[in-house]
Amino acid sequence: MRFLRIAKFDFENILRNPTLLFSNTVMPLILIGLMGFVTQSFFGSGNMSSYDYYGVSMITLSALLIIMTATNAFMEERVKRANIRMIYAPIPKAEIYLSKILSTYILGTLSFSIILMIGQYLFHINYGGGNLPYILLLVNMLVLFGSCFGTMMCCVMGDEEKASSISQLPVLFFSAFGGIFFSVYGLGKTVAAISNLSPVKWILECAFRIIYDNDFALLLPVTFSLFGASIACVIVCQLTFKPEDFTC
């Protein structure tokens, strides 16, 4: 009960922050629309339009960027003060960071599921038609991982600004090498081989295989890896989170 109350407060805190709300609701749609519009001429009238491609890749990117929301929900100046009170209270420290993970995750799941459904049914972006639930699951896991990773970075760095600026780098790096912005195969065989190391590439490939080939071979490995990575992040949180650092 107490934990849920903390999580509810954290959730409301995110809702009260217009920038966070905007970046998790309207921003992905704007990105899809813009990238799709700008690259329209590169795609033909085949069964995948520019909107279909960037619909998948920009959702992946936005879902990963929920890391920023997580770091913000955890250690923004205003939230920090409330955290200090909780540290004084007889509450296990796990409840403090788990509530941030839960609130970010709930927000992310809700908004990205709605975005995917709006995309498919209102804007006719191809998210797999009847296979949409699987894409929902994939994005859901991605959001969970992002929430855990962002919170972990906060625990490790102990500072919101550091955590968010540093965690942006691997996201950008893996996205660029995972084919979010352009196809890596255009850079030759070596780079294409390197891109296999990027988790983002596998997420994209998994999504495209589900949507265009009805091929679910990658779904379980990818979702389980994301889930495993999330648990690993939570463990690191427990090990590195030092509430006493807050008080100074």
Binding site: N17, T19, L20, F22, S23, M27, I30, L31, L34, M35, F37, V38, T39, Q40, S41, F42, F43, G44, S45, G46, N47, M48, Y53, M68, N72, E76, E77, R78, E161, K162, S164, S165, I166, L169, L172, G179, F181, F182, S183, V184, Y185, G186, L187, G188, V191, A192, L204, E205, F208, R209, I211, Y212, D213, D215
Partner: protein
């Protein structure tokens, strides 16, 4: 004011991560981007699906993999192949691609006649323009991280204390601006210059032109970050990144596009990045700066406008007693 600038530099160790990102990681990113953009090939990767051995003339701009079975459609989506070509019973080639109509025709022509039609590709933008477009976006996003001392001073009430000394807010902003500008300009210039000189990557500009263009670019990023740091209270970095990405795509920093929507066209033309992109493209094509005085003035006007608005907002808040 000199003291203020010195103070910024003295506080660098406190923000080591930001400096490392700005001075080490970003230049590496830029270097990698330049390096790879030189390798970006416009080769069609075609999967030829046939049981029979048919040989085709070799061409530099088309690469054919012969396979027996049709690969997954998702390999088209991922860009592993640009097209599938199949032969039907009548011996006709059927091209399946996600690319545009002209590309489809080009591939079809190659398989039928053994030659790609000449000039089938639309005119490409120079490497230099693409690179500076990318750098512009990075600079706009990085600028606000380098301006972090200003919001921090406000939050800690240091700003209030500074204002009780014989320094006014305009001087404070100027000092912060100079710091941001230096930290943006120097690493970026060095990164591009090193990749050009040491790795011999052709970037389309001479070092002189590059130096001048980067001054404009870094000033724009500096003014924008001061503006954003002045008008926003929290989530400055997130807000700035969002605005930078959207406006840079719209201004054609990555893809040159022509839209058919009037409102959007007008909107794009208002953006300072658009004027800057026109300018660098012209310079890369060997035109003189003077010919594009209009674009130059327009960009500089934006720099001053952003600076001015940021300064006015700060002043008004000081008078209201917000800080």
């Amino acid at each position: 004011m000199l003291n203020l600038i010195r103070n910024r530099f003295l506080r660098i160790p406190d923000k080591m991560h930001i400096m490392i990102i700005a001075v080490v990681v970003m230049p590496l990113f830029i270097g990698a981007a330049i390096f790879f953009s030189g390798h970006f090939t416009n080769v069609y990767k075609v999967a030829f699906i046939s049981d029979h051995a048919i040989s085709f003339p070799k061409s530099k701009s088309i690469q054919i993999d012969k396979i027996n079975e049709r690969p997954a459609t998702s390999s088209l989506a991922m860009g592993k192949y640009n097209a599938f070509v199949e032969v039907n019973k009548d011996g006709e080639f059927k091209v399946t691609t996600l690319k545009g109509e002209s590309d489809k025709k080009a591939i079809q022509t190659f398989f039928e006649g053994g030659k790609l039609p000449e000039n089938n590709k639309t005119e490409q933008r120079g490497i230099g323009t693409n690179i500076l477009g990318f750098v512009l976006m990075l600079a706009l996003m990085q600028g606000v991280a380098l301006t972090t001392f200003y919001p921090e001073d406000r939050n800690n009430s240091t700003f209030k204390r500074i204002l009780t000394s014989p320094v006014n807010s305009r001087q404070y902003l100027a000092a912060q601006g100079i710091f941001t500008f230096i930290c943006l300009y120097v690493p970026t210039f060095i990164a591009i210059a090193i990749t050009k000189i040491c790795f011999g990557v052709e970037i389309g500009f001479g070092l002189g032109n590059l130096a001048v263009l980067l001054v404009i670019l870094a000033s724009l990023a500096t003014a924008f970050s001061l503006f954003m740091a002045s008008i926003m209270d929290r989530n400055i970095s997130l807000g700035t990144s969002g605005i930078s990405i959207i406006t840079c795509i719209l201004a054609g920093c990555f893809f040159n596009f022509t839209g058919n929507i009037k409102v959007l066209d007008v909107l794009c033309n208002i953006l300072p990045q658009k004027a800057f992109m026109i300018l660098i493209q012209a310079v890369e094509n060997g035109r003189a700066f003077q010919e594009f005085a209009g674009q130059l003035t327009y960009t500089v006007t934006w720099v001053f406008a952003l600076w001015l608005v940021g300064s006015v907002v700060t002043n008004r808040r000081i008078k209201k007693g917000v800080y």
